[in-house]
C-alpha cells in the first residue's frame, strides 16, 4: 500500500464577493501520508478552515481548482453521491465551533448514531446503540447513557466538542481533519483527546490533519507542519526542523509569540491577516507586515524553495529577515 494518503495539487478555493472571485486557499500543494499527523498553523483568517472544508467539499458556493486526491480518487471532481459515501466514513472532520455544530433539536445519541446509520447499514439497532455509548465513553463523557438522550443546549462547550469528536471518529476514518479539536477543552481532556487521535492513527494507519493555534499541541502531535499565511503555504517542514530552524519571517514571528523559557520578550509582528478582498495578490504577501525589511529582497513571484530535503519556504526574503528589536547582527541567513 502506498504511504501517500492524500495528495493535494495546486488547490485554489475562491469565493465570490460581488462580481469577483477571491482565493481563500491559493495554490496549495501538500501531501499527507498514512500514519502521519500534519499540523497546519497560521493566524486567524489565513485559510486553514477554508482548506479543510475544500478537502471535505463542504463549501456551499466556492470555486475549487486543482486536485485533491484521496487514495487516487480526486475529491475535487467527485460526485455528491460519491462524496457522501466517503464523508463520515473514510474521511471525516472535527469542526472548529462546538457551539453551533450540533443540531439543537436532536438528541446527542441520535446525532452520533446518524453517522453509523449512514455507513454501517448492517449494524443492528442494539449494536449501534452500544457503539454510540462506547464512543461517548471514549471521548471522556461520564454517564453516556444519560447524555445519549440529552440535547446540545444541555451540554457545556467542552462536552459538545467531545460529541463532535465522537461523530468524527465513529467510523474510524482513514483521513481525519481536526480543526482546532481541543480549544474548548481543559488540559486533562485535551490530553485524552490527543491520545484518542494518536490511537486512531495507529489503529487505522490513518492520516491526520491537525489545525491548531496551539504550537504546544503541534510540537507534541505533528510529524510535519505547514504554516499558512493569506491562503498560501509559506513554510512546510518536519516538526523538528520547523521548531529548530524556522526560516520564513512569518513562522519565526509565530514561534516567537509563544513565550518559552529563557526568552524574555515576545516578538509579535504587528498587524492581522487582511480580509480576502484586501489581500495582496502579487509579490510577497507578508511584505507589508515587515516594512523595515528592504523591499528589494522579496521575490517578484514568490515560490516555495526546498532549502533542505523536505523543508520548503516561500520567498527569498527570509534570508534577510530580522526582528526590529534585535538588530541586524542576529540575522540567521538561510542557506539559499
Amino acid at each position: 500500500m502506498s504511504r501517500k494518503l492524500l495528495e493535494i495539487e495546486n488547490l485554489t478555493t475562491s469565493f465570490q464577493i460581488g462580481d469577483e472571485y477571491y482565493a481563500a486557499v491559493d495554490d496549495v500543494s501538500l501531501t499527507v501520508n498514512r500514519n502521519e499527523v500534519l499540523g497546519i498553523v497560521g493566524e486567524s483568517g489565513s485559510g486553514k478552515s477554508a482548506l479543510a472544508f475544500s478537502i471535505m467539499r463542504l463549501h456551499n458556493r466556492a470555486k475549487i481548482e486543482g486536485k485533491i486526491k484521496l487514495e487516487g480518487i480526486d475529491l475535487a471532481k467527485a460526485s455528491t453521491s460519491d462524496l457522501n459515501k466517503l464523508r463520515g466514513d473514510k474521511l471525516s472532520m472535527i469542526f472548529q465551533d462546538p457551539l453551533t455544530a450540533l443540531n439543537p433539536l436532536m438528541e446527542i445519541g441520535a446525532q452520533i448514531n446518524e453517522t453509523l446509520i449512514l455507513h454501517r447499514p448492517k449494524m443492528s439497532k442494539q449494536e449501534r446503540y452500544d457503539r454510540v455509548i462506547e464512543l461517548l465513553d471514549l471521548v471522556g463523557i461520564t454517564g453516556p447513557e444519560y447524555v445519549y438522550q440529552q440535547y446540545p443546549h444541555e451540554l457545556s462547550g467542552g462536552m459538545r466538542q467531545r460529541v463532535i469528536i465522537a461523530i468524527a471518529i465513529a467510523n474510524k476514518p482513514q483521513l481525519l481533519i481536526a480543526d482546532e479539536p481541543t480549544t474548548a477543552l481543559d488540559v486533562t481532556i485535551q490530553a485524552q483527546i490527543l491520545d484518542l487521535i494518536r490511537e486512531l492513527r495507529d489503529e487505522m494507519d490513518a492520516g491526520i490533519i491537525l489545525i491548531t493555534h496551539d504550537l504546544g499541541v503541534v510540537a507534541e502531535m505533528a510529524d510535519r507542519v505547514a504554516v499558512m499565511y493569506a491562503g498560501q503555504i509559506v513554510e512546510i517542514a518536519d516538526v523538528h526542523t520547523l521548531f529548530e530552524n524556522p526560516l520564513h519571517p512569518y513562522t519565526r514571528s509565530l514561534l516567537n509569540s509563544v513565550p518559552t523559557e529563557g526568552q524574555d520578550r515576545l516578538h509579535v509582528i504587528q498587524g492581522i491577516v487582511p480580509g480576502l478582498q484586501h489581500l495582496p495578490r502579487t509579490g510577497c504577501r507578508f511584505a507589508a507586515r515587515i516594512p523595515w525589511i528592504d523591499e528589494s529582497v522579496h521575490e517578484e513571484n514568490p515560490l516555495l524553495h526546498e532549502v533542505t530535503p523536505g523543508h520548503f519556504v516561500r520567498c527569498t526574503c527570509h534570508s534577510y529577515f530580522y526582528f526590529p528589536e534585535k538588530g541586524k547582527e542576529e540575522i540567521t541567513h538561510g542557506d539559499t
Partner: protein
C-alpha cells in the same frame, strides 16, 4: 415543560382580567346603556331614573364592573335588544359557524403554506421560488375583502360552484350527513378565500426559516457525516424550520379573527364576525361588548397556544 406551561398560564390570567377591565371601561363610554334600547321613549324620566337605580346603573364603575364580571362568569353576557334574546345564546349559535370557518381556513392555510414554503426555501432564488415569492407579494398587496368579492363573483355567481351566502342550505335537519355536507359547501369558498390571502405570511416565514436553517453549521455537520441532500432536508432542515411554524398557529388564529369579520360580511356567512358588524350598525352594544371580549380572549389564548406548542416541541424551552 410543565413548569413553563404553568407559569405561562399564570401570566394569562391577569392578561384576561386587564382585557375585561379595558372592555368594560370602553363599554361605559358607549352612548346609551342597557336601558336605552329597551324602553318605550314615552315613559317619563322619573320612572327611567328609578329603573336605572334599581338596575345598578348609577353605581360607581368598580361596583358595576364587579357585577358585570360575576354575570360573565355565570354565562350572563346581557341582553341583545335587537334579537330580544340572551347574548350568550345568540353568540353560541354563531360561534359554531365561526369555529368551523376558522378551522377549515387554518387547514387550507397550512395545506398551501407548507408545500409552497418548503419549495420556495429549498430552491431559493430559482424561477419556482420567484413565482412563489411573487404570489406572496400579490397576497400581501391584495385587500382581503376585495379578493373575497372576486372569489364570490367568479366561483359563486359565474361558475355557480358554491353557494353565495348563508352557512347551510334551507330545510336541512341538523345532525344529518346532508346537513354537514351542506355546511362544508357553504364554508369552503369563504375559507379558501381567506386562506389564500392569509397563508402568504406563513409561506414567507417558512421560506425564510428554511433559507436560514440551510446555512447553519449543524447542516454542514450533517453533510460531513455523509447525509444525502434529501436526508439533510428531511431530517435536519425541515424539522428545524417547521418548528417555529407550529408555534405560528396562535398568531394565525389572531389574524383569522380579523379576517372572519370581513369574510363573513362578504359571504353573508352568519358567524360572530357578521354578528359583530350587524350589532355595531344596530347599536346593539351588549352584543358588541361581549364579542370584543371574546375576540380578545381568543387572541390571548392564541398566543398561549403558540407558547405551549413551542414548549412541547422545542427541547430548549422544555427544560426551563
Amino acid at each position: 415543560m410543565w413548569k413553563f406551561i404553568v407559569r405561562r398560564l399564570l401570566i394569562t390570567f391577569p392578561q384576561i382580567v386587564l382585557l375585561s377591565i379595558l372592555i368594560f371601561l370602553m363599554s361605559q363610554f358607549m352612548p346609551g346603556d342597557a336601558l336605552t334600547g329597551m324602553l318605550d321613549p314615552n315613559v317619563d324620566q322619573s320612572t327611567i331614573q328609578e329603573q336605572r337605580e334599581r338596575m345598578g346603573l348609577n353605581d360607581p364603575w368598580h361596583i358595576k364592573y364587579a357585577n358585570w364580571v360575576s354575570g360573565l362568569v355565570q354565562g350572563d353576557l346581557g341582553q341583545s335588544f335587537r334579537f330580544k334574546m340572551d347574548v350568550s345564546e345568540l353568540i353560541s349559535q354563531r360561534m359554531e359557524n365561526t369555529l368551523l370557518l376558522g378551522i377549515v381556513t387554518l387547514i387550507f392555510t397550512y395545506l398551501i403554506a407548507i408545500p409552497l414554503g418548503i419549495t420556495s426555501g429549498r430552491y431559493n432564488d430559482t424561477l419556482l421560488d420567484q413565482a412563489i415569492t411573487g404570489y406572496t407579494y400579490v397576497g400581501f398587496a391584495t385587500p382581503l375583502f376585495i379578493f373575497g368579492l372576486v372569489m364570490l363573483f367568479i366561483f359563486g355567481y359565474q361558475l355557480g360552484w358554491f353557494p353565495t351566502s348563508g352557512s347551510v342550505g334551507p330545510g336541512m335537519v341538523p345532525g344529518t350527513l346532508d346537513y354537514w355536507i351542506s355546511k362544508l359547501k357553504h364554508v369552503m369558498l369563504p375559507a379558501l378565500s381567506m386562506a389564500l390571502i392569509q397563508t402568504v405570511s406563513t409561506v414567507q416565514y417558512l421560506r425564510s426559516e428554511i433559507v436560514d436553517t440551510k446555512q447553519k453549521d449543524f447542516i454542514i455537520t450533517a453533510r460531513a457525516k455523509g447525509a444525502s441532500e434529501s436526508r439533510v432536508y428531511n431530517r435536519h432542515i425541515f424539522r428545524n424550520s417547521l418548528l417555529p411554524i407550529a408555534a405560528f398557529i396562535g398568531w394565525e388564529i389572531t389574524t383569522l379573527i380579523v379576517g372572519t369579520v370581513f369574510i363573513e360580511q362578504i359571504f353573508g356567512y352568519p358567524g360572530m364576525g357578521l354578528l359583530f358588524l350587524e350589532s355595531i350598525n344596530m347599536r346593539d352594544y351588549s352584543v358588541v361588548t361581549a364579542l370584543v371580549l371574546l375576540f380578545g380572549i381568543a387572541q390571548i389564548l392564541g398566543t398561549l397556544l403558540s407558547d405551549i406548542i413551542l414548549s412541547i416541541v422545542d427541547p430548549r424551552i422544555r427544560i426551563k
